[in-house]
Subunit: 442 residues, 2 copies
């Protein structure tokens, strides 16, 4: 299968392998028992937000569309499943012709969500819908975790530019998805070339401590960098003595030096000192970039400091304490037979424990108050009340197997900012608390 | 570039894009200043273990070798870098012919490590060695985090089988690497088909709650499953009422039923009840698998329960609270000129803050006491003391650009168990504490 047209940093021969074995053994058993073609509705939702978080952010929807489009079983994969004795021949035959022909609805990417929000709904035969569980959850759980952390950092930064630089702290391909999710959540640029290549996110980067240490003197290093990258570059000033480095930097680059970067120490204190020194040296336009183990709290604590941009790594790509969401993919309704038109029956697990859920195909709408501020996430299984009809959150993503909702990444980014702006003010609090909107079931 | 021979679940056209932009701008500046060919030594190490952890586990070494071998700049990548204006033409020309021709030494995969352990050393020209920073750190930081969590869970499980089932909780390709790292750390099987395909890890999986809910009755579902997967299958018994499900399961499959799986509720209590019920029904050989939000503590708490296997998801693939290691890649020595044979000068950042490190090319050895138990991680830059000569930890991985240390994954897994067994007994404590070995510098 040629997927080069997706422009991935790695060509994905098929996403069908990103699947837990039990999806396939369930398929085999359902084919055998004659239930495989029962019309089924699966929904993706979380039972709760990560502890203390005020809202979630849907990330990865666009990647889900790529994954669904590429979910095919080629000869190599079928051969593997056969050789391992995982599936019988009728099931392998069925998979050979598989493509998803059902419908997917979902919260559009960048939208916020709350406990119970049906962020995605997959509808089709049981056979085709069950197969997508693992890859859809992988993508949404990872990307939404990063998008939520990015959103909090973006709130904390109050409009100052944010650079994603966490590639080295996470799996090399998770890093590409993380850069994408960070952009959706409000980041501006990334250090990750693969993310620039694949998703057209602006990339940045100039030098590390190793570059200074490579040269005989710091001055040699700065001169080499300015010679080739120009005086608009960012010089890293904390390899030896910061004050001396700043003086050298301005001597070498002139007062038009683009920026200095501080990557260690007491950033608040150092930023103030460096700003004063730069101003005294006439480098009043030279910016200060800080990049040392930042999270949303550290960013917020620098709000009053003369800092012009933040670079964030570890805490961003690991979701700032919550590296995954707890999204699940649950069968919520299915037909009693495979005869077309058979009414759907709501279903749900109902044993002891916290893992129960609400059966039935759901709609969701965000209710606004008189000032246009969101005041509830309303979820229901019956008819949508007229006053909520134009506030519905689920949109068609895939119709009859065809992707219908491709969009530029900037659309998701803009949507996130708009959705966040419509939340109550408490959404911008970093402190731990409850979800800013209650979930109401109709 | 054809990398199909690597058998990746996705063909990687090149790993060169998994790189932070500053590696390339440093290259350009070094080429301009005439320092690019200075012989350089970079080392990968952590300054500390995650809080409370007793030891680290090296994971991902084998994947690093794949990444280094595939680190090439093809026309597509060069075109991207040119079009974005990231690099000048001399640098693009240099990259067009690039392949790493230096040497890499490292702790072999599965080995344990401690604060300061030089887990990998990359040596060559500055130009070739600096380029590998990002991708090497991505792989080691991610895979080692999962391997360490897996190791703790494996200790807690005390020999009972562990199933990796976290694919849905992490990025779809991080999941494949996580399954691999979990295997190195002591897991036995995975639910992830891509991990089975790529790394030949045994895969398992039978059914989810959706399969039961698809059918008109639980009995129908169990019958369908047993009909096609045989009575040796694992039936999921907690969709409705566990006791009723266990009764039905044994009726349908007979006393030869392979296993039942419990995925919710008070696992300790339920496992005891289910065991008693199974025994009363004559299904004395039927195993009990538990799979609900387990981590190493939950596994340990079930040590006295009649549980035969654990399935672990979220907490495994997110490193059980520590989803990344804090490995860094630091220039520790370099020549003053590019004349061959120029002696190496130790270098290190030395500004304020916690980010200082020790210059010089290091060796490392694990000292044993009279009983053959490890008592120190000894690291030095001078000659290796004779009594430690045969306890050295770094082995050649790449020589003159050629990979020299490919090995089956089982070798890394066996090595991990052997290395762990040689640690003081406190290594098996799950409680928070200090590293079980002190790091001594000679």
């Amino acid at each position: 299968m040629n997927t080069a047209d997706l422009g991935l940093p790695v060509a994905v021969p098929s996403t069908a392998l990103f699947t837990d074995q039990y999806e396939l053994t369930m398929l085999q058993a359902a084919l055998r028992s004659g239930t495989a073609d029962r019309h089924s509705v699966f929904e993706v939702f979380t039972r709760r937000l990560p502890e203390g978080r005020r809202y979630g952010v849907v990330g990865g929807t666009g990647r889900v569309l790529d994954a669904v489009e590429n979910f095919r079983f080629d000869e190599t994969i079928l051969g593997f499943l056969r050789e391992r004795g995982i599936l019988d021949e009728p099931t392998l035959d069925w998979l050979a012709g598989f493509r998803f022909r059902g419908d997917i609805w979902g919260y559009p990417e960048g939208e916020v969500y709350f406990p119970g929000s049906p962020v995605m709904r997959v509808e089709g035969t049981f056979a085709e819908a069950v197969l997508l569980e693992t890859v859809i959850l992988s993508i949404l759980n990872h990307d939404s975790a990063v998008a939520a952390a990015a959103s909090r950092m973006s709130v904390a930064a109050g409009g100052r530019p944010l650079v994603e630089m966490g590639a080295r702290r996470t799996h090399e391909l998770a890093a590409v998805a993380a850069a994408r999710a960070a952009y959706v959540g409000g980041f501006h640029t990334t250090s990750d070339l693969a993310a620039g290549f694949r998703y057209n996110i602006p990339t940045v980067g100039t030098s590390a401590h190793a570059f200074t240490l490579l040269h005989d003197t710091e001055r040699d290093a700065f001169t080499a960098q300015v010679d080739t990258l120009g005086s608009g570059t960012t010089l890293l000033v904390d390899t030896f003595d910061v004050a001396e480095a700043v003086r050298t930097a301005v001597e070498v680059a002139g007062p038009g030096l683009g920026a200095v970067r501080i990557d260690s120490g007491d950033l608040l204190l150092i930023a103030h000192r460096v700003r004063q020194q730069l101003d005294e040296l006439g480098a009043t336009k030279t910016k200060i970039v800080v990049t040392s183990d930042l999270d949303e709290y550290a960013i917020a604590s620098l709000a009053a400091a003369p800092v012009d941009a933040y670079g964030v790594g570890t805490q961003l790509v690991t979701g700032s304490g919550h590296p995954t969401c707890s999204m699940v993919y649950k069968l919520v309704a299915r037909a009693d037979s495979d005869t077309p038109g058979t009414p759907l029956r709501p279903v749900a697990k109902r044993s002891m424990g916290a893992k129960t859920s609400l059966g039935g195909r759901k709609w969701a709408a965000r209710r606004l108050d008189a000032d246009g501020i969101a005041d509830a996430e309303v979820i229901g299984t019956g008819p949508v009340p007229a006053e909520l009809a134009d506030r519905q959150l689920l949109v068609p993503l895939v119709s009859g197997g065809t992707v219908v909702a491709r969009e530029p990444l900037d659309a998701a980014r803009d949507r996130h900012i708009a959705a966040r702006d419509q939340l109550p003010l408490s959404a911008s609090q970093l402190s731990r608390g409850e979800a800013v909107l209650p979930t109401e079931y109709l």
